[in-house]
Amino acid sequence: MNGAAAGDCAIHARGLTRRFGSLVAVDHVDLDVPARRVYGFLGPNGSGKSTTIRMLCGLLTPSEGEIEVLGLRIPAEAEALRRRIGYMTQKFSLFDDLTVRENLEFIAAVQGVPRAQTARRVAEAIEQYRFGEARNQLAGTMSGGQKQRLALACAVLHAPELLFLDEPTSAVDPESRRDFWEKLFELADAGTTLLVSTHLMDEAERCHRLAILAEGVLMADGTPVELTGRLVGRTFAVEVGDPRRAQHALAGLSGVLGVAQVGMNLRVLTVDDPDAGLRQRMADTLAKTFPDARVASTPPNLEDVFVAATHDTRRQPEHAA
């Protein structure tokens, strides 16, 4: 695979920027996506995930910056790249008025799957993605989960080296999602590089590595463990009888980045608190009104990473080594 030519890096981008009029959708993003891994793009809607993916697969021309994907310079060599990538769009983009089999056959022909192999590959895809009964059903009449499976089946039909998936599970129930991720890991094991965008924390946690985007800026990137590791000592669980009012009291404290209610508890994210002074101030504040309140340390999760990263976009983005 010559895709791994640039070290073991499938995607390499520097200073990637895209402006739409006065709006900066993607702002000087640097990316290094390792080959044969599932790489996640985590960010809220409008954070520039789709724009970045479209630039990486050559569908949008960057306003600034350099991109190299599978050793090809993009957008100059985008046409050569198209044979080697799969792209699953955010919105279902297959043909509603074609059947499952017809869609697969169409994609096979357009993607240049050799004629002799087409029938076998289509049959395999129907089998592997469990369309046996539904092979002659019109795509437009299928459920969200089925459509998503079909879109994935079509995206990987020509065995691409690199697969872009733009919020693939947005219209899907939790069980289909788990199922879908199994498929993604199978593909990664088979040597495919996957770039998946999502706004769901639990999906981001599954990725080998991820980048957090907010308002077009890359806030942080690293493995989930690295990213959460940086927040150790900054996350607290507060047990209190009246979480709504306690939330207000805590949110006003300087150094508290976020207070979220989780069931009857509060989850608090703070700035770095090496001498535990902030923890003490929180306890004191709560003690005045809520004598029964208890503050305990809790392990950080990706949501905390996300809140910490997006809390202050003026702060310089940080990078894992």
Partner: protein
């Protein structure tokens, strides 16, 4: 350029078309409906027009002439009046569409060989004009042939004069059907491809297609080819119906007719593609189609004679495929001309096609920006 990818697009289009009942209905429905609608205007065998009769002579001869006219079944008597003025009042009110006036000095005129009767026609309806023209052929002297009339085969023109009101310009009936082939093909073909690209953009399919190795030219050609077949099928439907319902003569070679139709189809399809790369929504595409369709109908010579148009209109008309097609099809179908004789128009259509196709391919970007 990859034949297999073009084939994949063609197959996809045909499969989608098969499931698109509205478009399928349009393919057959538009030609049939238009042809039947326009067909009434060229139906020469009209029967039972309401006629008012003002027989001021009231002699045996004049009554015989009226009976002869009624015997043709073209008109049926619905009013007997005294003066032409009363006939005009009835016609204005729409109660009659034909008036027959026989003047007091009928016998004298017949003897002198002057016009013996006048037929007043509501010319706002072209069918009536045609019918009245037939009425004028009724021999004035069935019993005693007029010796002064020229040789037998010549109709006794001048003996019964036809005065047409409201629309003095008479059009040749058979001119309409060949033109209609062009009008129908312009209407349907442009529309089909005008929405072809825009629709995929609206439905989100385009983002998938442009992320594949499919090239712009492959996509455009694949989109056009299925509709060439459909256009030729439409042409056949129109020709068969024209033949069967209205007995329109086909004087030239059938091959030449289909070749001319094929050239128009390609020109219109590529025009549609061009529209499709400009339009941002299917609705816009339809508006633009209409924007092209109206001048095609009005300036091409289908409705008004080309020669009578001002120079500017003629220039615009020369840019429209329908103008060239009309010259071809009328030449071939009615005058029995060969395509070689009509070479300027034969060349104009492929030239138009090439320009539109290249423009569409250049305009279409495999980019979202």
């Amino acid at each position: 350029m990859n034949g297999r990818r073009i084939g994949a697009i063609v197959l996809k289009e045909l499969r989608q078309l098969r499931r698109d009942r509205v478009t399928l209905a349009m393919i057959v429905g538009i030609p049939v409906i238009l042809l039947v609608l326009f067909g009434y205007a060229i139906n020469l065998n009209l029967r039972g027009l309401k006629a008012g009769i003002a027989d001021q002579a009231d002699t045996a001869g004049s009554r015989a002439l009226v009976m002869d006219m009624l015997a043709t079944d073209i008109v049926s008597a619905s009013a007997q009046v005294r003066t032409p003025g009363q006939l005009m009042t009835l016609m204005q009110a729409g109660r009659i569409s034909v008036g027959i006036v026989i003047p007091r000095d009928f016998e004298r005129r017949r003897f002198d060989g002057r016009p013996v009767a006048q037929i007043l026609v509501d010319g706002s309806d072209t069918t009536v004009q045609m019918a009245a023209a037939q009425l004028a052929q009724v021999p004035v002297d069935s019993a005693a042939p007029d010796m002064r009339a020229p040789a037998a085969s010549t109709p006794p023109q001048g003996r019964i004069s036809v005065v047409s009101f409201y629309n003095p310009e008479r059009r040749s009936a058979v001119n309409i059907v060949p033109g209609l082939v062009g009008v129908i093909l312009t209407m349907t073909m442009v529309l089909f491809t005008a929405i072809a690209i825009v629709r995929e953009r609206e439905r989100g399919n385009m983002e998938l297609l442009i992320a594949t190795p499919l090239s712009s030219a492959e996509l455009m050609i694949g989109k056009v080819l299925p509709y060439v077949l459909i256009g030729l099928a439409q042409t056949s439907v129109i020709l068969l119906l024209a033949r069967w319902l209205f007995a329109v003569p086909i004087n030239g070679s059938l091959l030449a007719i289909y070749l001319a139709a094929g050239l128009l189809i390609l020109a219109n399809l590529t025009l549609g593609l061009m529209i499709s790369t400009v339009a941002r929504s299917q609705f816009q595409a339809m508006q633009m189609t209409f924007f092209v369709f109206l001048p095609s109908i009005l300036l091409s010579g289908f409705m008004f004679p080309f020669a009578g148009m001002p120079a500017a209109a003629q220039w615009i008309a020369e840019l429209l495929p329908l103008t060239h097609f009309l010259r071809l099809i009328r030449g071939v179908m009615l005058r029995g001309a060969s395509l070689a004789e009509l070479w300027p128009d034969v060349l104009a259509l492929p030239l138009f096609t090439a320009v539109m196709m290249v423009a569409a391919i250049l305009r279409f970007r495999k980019r979202l920006d």
